[in-house]
Subunit: 315 residues, 6 copies
């Protein structure tokens, strides 16, 4: 419930700054006000393998239908494909989770903060002012969120003053993203109020202070969350364990493989429930040729059913 505190500007030096000494530099062009820049052409270049449409800003747009399917994914199902393709670092955990029984799925909208540094901050703000966009703050980024986005924020694990939102802005994020979600390597405030809002969130800490002593340094730039690199437009999936950031080019394969895994697990548990087998006779794959056959038939049939059900649902 309080806006981010602006840094107190040390005297003399900044007076010079305000006199417009930067005018010529800023005249040039459309570079963003914040410190780090990851323009559309670089984003497109570095997400070249994206098989889907893109947003106007260049972010890959995983289709809504796949987002719906992704709501059933678990971390292990995703791991199976990503590990296989050599992506070992797309997972982050160690979060406190709001509504852990509610899956989080959406497209990554990334924001980066760094510790406040007055000279850098002042120039960023002068540029922002010149371009008529007001001081850079958490709301600058939050106001750009789209339906289906998950807000992914690098606040470098900051607790005190590292609170990306309280209950008001958390509520706004929910309405703007249509319940997408939040991942912050930092903290939130107003946990009492936030607990009543029906959107999943992954955060490291909770603190009563508002965001402070930081500066917004990037919007939709590549960010690091724990041991994972997040690119804008990645598919973000959170379950009870942690959060996966899936490159768009792997989304379809993850979802298809997940169908198989789910059928596999269904069959495996059915067999275990019969109480006739040792685990190694059935799992990870049946040893007996007849069981193998039985499984293959089951798999084929259930996948068909799943696909049909999905087709019906999509209509």
């Amino acid at each position: 419930m309080k806006q981010r505190t602006r840094p107190r500007i040390p005297g003399l030096i900044w007076r010079v700054l305000r006199l417009g000494i930067f005018a010529t530099l800023f005249a040039a062009g459309p570079a963003p006000a914040q410190l780090l820049d990851f323009p559309k052409d670089r984003l497109v270049e570095y997400s070249e393998l994206n098989p889907f449409d893109r947003f106007a800003d260049g972010r890959p747009k995983v289709p809504d239908g796949l987002l719906r399917r992704a709501r059933e994914l678990s971390a292990e199902e995703i791991w199976a494909v990503l590990e296989d393709k050599g992506y070992k670092n797309q997972y982050a955990d160690g979060f406190r989770i709001l509504h852990p029984d509610k899956p989080m799925v959406g497209r990554a909208f990334t924001v980066q903060f760094m510790p406040m540094r007055p000279d850098v901050e002042h120039i960023a703000e002068a540029k922002a002012k010149q371009r008529g966009i007001g001081p850079l703050m958490n709301q600058t980024a939050i106001d750009m969120l789209q339906p289906g986005d998950v807000l992914v924020v690098d606040l470098f694990g900051k607790k005190v003053g590292g609170t990306i939102v309280g209950d008001n802005l958390f509520y706004y994020v929910m309405t703007a993203t249509k319940g997408g979600g939040l991942v912050v390597d930092g903290s939130i405030r107003d946990l009492n109020g936030i607990s009543e809002i029906d959107m999943p969130a992954y955060f490291k800490e909770v603190d009563p202070t508002p965001i402070d002593n930081v500066m917004l340094t990037g919007i939709n730039v590549p960010v690091r969350i724990g041991g994972a690199v997040v690119m804008p437009g990645d598919l973000v999936v959170g379950d009870r364990e942690g959060v996966y950031f899936i490159p768009p080019e792997l989304v379809k394969e993850v979802l298809d493989r997940a169908d198989e895994i789910r059928v596999h697990d269904e069959w495996t548990k059915k067999k275990f429930a019969e109480g006739k087998y040792k685990s190694s006779e059935i799992y990870s794959s049946p040893k007996d040729p007849r069981l193998k056959e039985e499984y293959q038939a089951y798999l084929k049939q259930r996948l068909e059913e799943i696909r049909k059900a999905r087709a019906r649902q999509e209509k």
Copy 2:
């Protein structure tokens, strides 16, 4: 379910002690048996700004009506006033919380323990005996609790042997304080049993051992809980995040400001729910003059309603 183990007393030296060698010293007066003393006149002196009545022991007595109102407070609402007044250290967190969805509100009753030191302990016990009050232990303090109190205990983060209560004494604390609550920088035992008792509690650890290898050094003395100083009689408020210790002189202001904040947040979310505004047009305060006006009218009306409702309730 076991009383605190008494320290084994090393032989020879204490035999001398028992012969009453301290008689003259103790004759003097009403100083308490425990090591640290914070007599009534000092307490009154250091809580001079208290606008309310006091208990017989000098503790400020925040009125019951304000305790009731305080049940709606959240950590952020308290932060708003305390930060503003220069109180940056009245908050403690990092607790495990029992019944986190149930607010904890009450007046601080403080207790301090220190690691056992036989010479000090023995003298304290000799003094206690002389004054006919039995050995000093956790129950000495617990038996002094009043309705509306929250028991605030400094056990210096001790886990093993740092268990202020098990389920029996926790139950007693609930009956004696009428459900006030417990904050302990230490541990509790009997979590299974305690979980069934309807009183909020904030503790660092859980352990099966009873309290041991410590000595009671102060009752209603100023104590430090994490980074906060707690004075006897402070208003204690716990929510899902942590615990605030509010000096009596700030209670009224905190409660009044909280009313405003709650109306502000109510209006803000209503506006966000309409889906027509960017967050920065509404929050932290509306930019558009007409919206500003709308908000002011809403605030005025709702505060009146709240006050009326409260007045009805108080009757």
Copy 3:
């Protein structure tokens, strides 16, 4: 959902191994394939005080009736007897707990892993092959579980690759042990899936990776879990706080004492609820002779009732 990755075997050296150079050594006898051996005679020797039957493998078999009674135990009740008998190290905590409101009770089935070391692993596997039992892995042990067992696993706190089971094998453990339970000083995977399975579990971490870079070094050998030594056949009891490993020879005494403690606590709380007493008049034992008498009568009557009720139930 994935089988344990086998270690990649470094080339040349192992080719030699496969030529059967160990044949003579292995010819000898029935020593197990895994690195560490705790044969039946040693187990019997070291659990000589066991008053109950034994499994074929020598493990003490705490009777089913006592397992049922043990479902009501709490960590503190167990502490009372074990501390008294000089067993200070039979408790482990610091776990994340699945279904904390559901007690875990069973007989310890222990498994030990160590970090993978190719020379040791290769010899263990050559021995296993020779004896026709396939590669040693988590399922080797899991397939030996009996009804009433709790699987107790030393994975030395390993998170990544230290996942003893995912949801499929967790489901198998539940069916094989009839809902016994799991304690792992390591991690599990598939928390989403596991959360839906009705068996208690105590684990340190959760990770999406399958078990990897470890070797199975012992089945039903003595293992260390945190600060506790677990012998095969110990009674394992888990509550909301942690896990106790009770030597068979103390089980009966623990259960009987627990009855008394429960009656004591029942009476104590009743007295507190009356609101007439200070805690120290009643607890830990009543001071007033008449109350003492009242308590003794109550205790006697309630213990009788409990025994009768139990007798009825057992029929």
Copy 4:
């Protein structure tokens, strides 16, 4: 190199304070300005077993000659006596140590800080002013140090703003205590400068900030340092491992036992160096009767030598 920042005083309320509203309260007597009070009579009472002289303020004064002897003590030698007497908590470690090869020995001069709390601080300062002693700060205590003292400070582990001294005040402490020493459960600053000053120090952290956001709450009050209780006048001994706080009544016994231990270890190593014995034949005491005799004779002779040498030295 910067004085402690005074807390910014929140407006209105304090204006009242300054008008002298406390005058009557303060008139009473000689109670100290700081929050916590441990007056001379209590100190004498709680250190009744002290066999030595006292300072004017009541602190036990372990004689200079014993301080000199104590320079040879190691933590283990002290442990031997204290454990035996039931003092299990008089040791603290986990410090960074300045000049670890230089023993630290002296009489405890204790200081306690708590987090800043404006209402309490303001009253303490008003009282100080009234008594003409200026604002309470770290130098208030430091200026009271005597030769042979070790400054023992509870700054509750605070790093940023928890710096009891920089190089200037560290130099002052060295001159005032004649090289006594410093133990702080908090931090120091100016490590570069301090490293060049020849006095041992035990501290938790180093930070460039000056002391801030704390208030001085006690001088020569009992303080807790880690798991130890320190009474003013305790003998403080620091070695490479940590710091022992020895009650005055045990000093003589510790020193005498240490002589024996040192002779014992001297003889034991001599025997080991001969290479003829297994460790258990010699240590912890010789098994063979002839060796026992040899040891007893050696012990007797060496203790005599030590005492004579000491007597010569004392002259």
Copy 5:
């Protein structure tokens, strides 16, 4: 002694990549191969206050003469100016320090790594190849170092595989920077070898593995080291406590103020050594008017001497 392991490239997808599908994108221009770009014009813009020359790449070039003077700075002297100007976040600590008694001074040359992500890495390498610069790795950055540089590396605290250099490359860094130094939020290897090389270094961990499972994402971009933001060209100063990153525009003021502080401390200690004053009579500034005068005269004279000595030295 081993080159960074290249990521194993997952099959099919990359075959497409290698066919040159990116040709058109890359044709454009001189953007760097690595993921993040902070081109010269942005660097100049964001370091506009730099009063000194610049390197060809835009980095501010603090003059060699000032680097020499900076060798005498301590963290506290820097803190005095930076705090005053509102720069609270330019300090990082928690490092293991090589040669802590040797000051580290130089101009920041920054490098950023992120966890390996195959799609991003592959595109970065394709771009690098197209521009003829070989695969991006730690040596790519290291080969660009200039005399007087300090290599500042963000390896996000990685221990295993987070080793920026072993002894060979550490030796190279020393020759290339003329003994500048190294700061890495990550690890080094070959500590035995490195210990013999005479250049200061600040690192979090030591590990025997070579750098692995990361990708180079930025050279001379703004990086975060702990709680500090480092801009390319910042003056880096390391002492026994930690590392300061000083914006070029503040370097002169820091150095001048440090002269005063050193004279102040010299005088203060001289006074303390006389043994006639309490610390508060002298420090932080003398209270007595005559002493004030004495100090002012001393300060003036010593500053003159220092400046003259410096002038002689510079010749």
Copy 6:
């Protein structure tokens, strides 16, 4: 300087034990008294690849000549071979190191402790007594040490009561092993005394208490130290970073490869010192064909010199 405290034996039960009820069980044979057994035939089996002689107890005996050569090894040189052969887990770090500039080299003599458990301990002691070997304690193992051994102890990270040796026994270990060394995942005591003894040691903690509340469970059994598996007879090498446990079959290869690495690094630094090359022109291998040739010639010549020098030395 104090022998390990024996566990207090709980009454009744043990009286039975003492009556010799185990006599028949113990009659059988030569199994060791301690809980875990790893008899000679298993040790030989599991170290089948050992190319060297063995001790009488079956431990591989890496020859003295190779021990001498191994004194020059660094962790990175060992890593190069072990990683290559698939041994990823033979390294442990996180120790405090005594005499870090003195290499530690020797053959692993392993000891395992577990937390005290009275029933197990009592049976072990009864067995020991029957076989005439006195109570099992740290000295039981220490008295078996041979010249060239390094004592490797699993005390599961225990600090208080986890002290394997004080200065007396440390001195004994030095004389018995001829300066071999100590690695303990636990603590030591008497750091002051130990610091003066010229043998390297790797330990986690220091504490003044003697070893307590543990039982000796294995001598020369496989143990886990951190993430490494240590087999009796492994070559132990410690440097400034940590400790490597090298299987005997890899010792020769490690030493030979280390020669090459040292020559490689020598040449690389010589080239860097010339100041004419970028690091990537030289390192990790020279790019230029003529430099390649130069390097090959240098390598050949230096290896010859080294071998000749070594041959001379061996004579």
